[in-house]
Amino acid sequence: MSDTYTLYNPTVMEHFMNPRNMGDLKDADGVGEVGAAACGDIMKISLKIKDGKIEDARFKTFGCGSAIASSSMATELIKGRTIDEALKFSNQEVVDALGGLPPVKIHCSVLAEEALKAALEDYVKKHPEAASQVGAVSAVAA
């Protein structure tokens, strides 16, 4: 191994080798699983939501180093955010927080955004009462 010559930058490598929030949430309030048609990667994000806020997040990913790092970073970033804030989450946040991804790997961060939004949709489906609390959610659930 070489610390000087790695395929991705040190932040991406660190999130790949030591991913944060890896796993499932047993009593998740929302679960989203999405696949990338382009490459075949699959990402799953589970959320614990309380009082309109993301209390906890976990991921599982079938994919390359940047897909795993993207899901690790995305789950870190969204913890503590309200549903409204989370619905505005963009893949660019993941790219920026990771210090950049190679152009061909940007779609991995998009997958993380899609997995998060699928989990939020699932939450709204399971908790229709939450839709009234959160304005933007109803648009997503529709």
Binding site: M1, E33, G40, D41, C64, A67
Partner: protein, 421 residues
């Protein structure tokens, strides 16, 4: 940290004797072989010796049948375009296999845009060419058949003597890409019935920057690089003298060490696959079993429910150098076309790793590889939603179906909204 290099298909370290042989050709013997003074004549002699050494490796009759190029890709381009252009009036049809190296596939695609047509002969699930399809593919317009000796990806050895017999019967020249075999398996241009053969010394402990193209004098070939009259007018441009000299020495050593190297890596190959198979569940060998149908250097595996680039990165982090044919490692996001051609399920192609052994690998390296790889597989499966869903019976294994759950591909299509390709 302990280093284990298992990517000898991409590069090999120079033999010390090769390095020493090259050294003077960077400094005191710096002449250009096209020069007429003694500096030029001195290196011309060195090129002649290297040509003889290359000819001996593939049992060619004469060093005059050896042309130097810059690498295997240029050799393939010259072989295919050079023969196609030389025989344009005779016909504009080519025959290749579906699992050729990209340098062959893409040279042919280039010609197709200019009016040539090409038939791609299929392979079976082990990657062995279908000889009946080959026989049927050759027409009176066919000017070249290009079939590799050993597949660069899955190590399958083609029945090249039979291919040569078919081409001889139909009087069509045969180009055999020996990039993955020369230096490891015997190559005999006459036994193969080959009009053209290419190989590169950097695959057997020679330097990068030189490729070799053998051409039987009877085969017509025109240059595709235009300039001065180097290489008998078949390849313009100043020769890379140090690399050619080093390549010649590497070829000479390969002739004497070929049997012992092949025996050594064959033992490691069998041990590696046996170790992986016994330690890791849901793992598949792509290509033929170790034995007479597989080059002894190559192990190509698919480990189910995890992706190849992640495996490669974790192995690199632990000091192991390997390759992968997963879509995630390719800039085009496509799986290896070889894995596609053998009909491998997309999900298994995603979990692909290629390990290629060399003469300096040891039994200890192999055991350490198996042990480390098994740990990495466990770690990545722990992170994979597919493994979890398999254990819960949501999806089924492709390698060892249990009869419960839907296929991985179906599941991937369901969650991505589009079918996996």
């Amino acid at each position: 940290m302990r280093q284990v290099f298992l990517d000898h298909q991409s590069a090999t370290p120079l033999l010390p004797a090769v390095f020493e042989a090259m050294r003077p050709y960077f400094t005191e013997a710096f002449g250009n072989p096209s020069s007429l003074h003694h500096h030029g004549l001195r290196v011309r002699d060195a090129l002649k010796q290297a040509r003889q050494q290359m000819a001996a490796l593939i049992r060619a009759d004469s060093e005059e049948e050896i042309f130097f190029t810059s690498d295997g890709t240029e050799s393939a381009n010259l072989a295919i375009k050079g023969v196609a252009y030389a025989n344009e009036r005779k016909g504009k049809h080519l025959v290749i296999s579906a699992t050729e190296h990209p340098s062959v596939m893409n040279s042919v695609e280039f010609l197709e845009k200019q009016g040539w047509t090409c038939t791609r002969v299929g392979v079976d699930s082990e990657g062995i060419i279908r000889l009946d399809e080959l026989q049927a593919a050759i027409t009176p317009q066919t000017v070249l058949v290009a079939i590799h000796h050993v597949n660069h990806d899955i190590g399958a050895i083609q029945p090249i003597r039979e291919v040569g017999r078919i081409c001889a019967e139909k009087a069509v020249p045969l180009y055999v890409d020996c990039e993955a075999s020369a230096g490891w398996l015997p190559v005999d241009v006459k036994e193969f019935g080959a009009a053209l053969v290419s190989f590169s010394p950097h695959r057997f402990y020679g330097p990068k920057g030189v490729g070799v193209l053998y051409r039987n004098k009877k085969a017509r070939l025109v240059s595709i690089i235009h300039g001065g009259v180097q290489e008998g007018g078949r390849r313009a441009g100043t020769e890379n003298v140090p690399a050619i000299v080093g390549g010649g020495v590497a070829a000479a050593v390969a002739v004497t060490e070929l049997d012992s190297r092949a025996k050594h890596v064959a033992e490691l190959q069998a041990r590696l696959w046996e170790g992986l198979r016994s330690k890791i569940r849901f793992i598949k060998l792509n290509g033929p079993e170790p034995g007479p149908k597989r080059v002894p250097t190559n192990i190509n595996i698919s480990t189910e429910f995890i992706e190849g680039e992640g495996q490669l990165l974790m192995l690199d982090h632990q000091g192991f150098a390997v390759a992968s044919g997963s879509s995630c490692v390719s800039k085009s996001l496509k799986i290896s076309h070889v894995l596609g051609a053998i009909g491998l399920d997309h999900a298994l192609a995603q979990g692909n790793i290629i390990m290629t052994l060399g003469k300096d690998n040891t039994v200890e390296d192999v055991d350490y590889t198996v042990e480390t790889f098994a740990r990495i597989v466990t770690k990545l499966r722990g992170m994979s939603p597919m493994w979890d869903e398999f254990e819960r019976g949501v999806i089924d294994s492709v390698i060892a179906p249990t009869g419960r759950g839907k296929s991985f591909s179906q599941h991937a299509a369901d969650v991505s909204g589009k079918p996996a390709h």
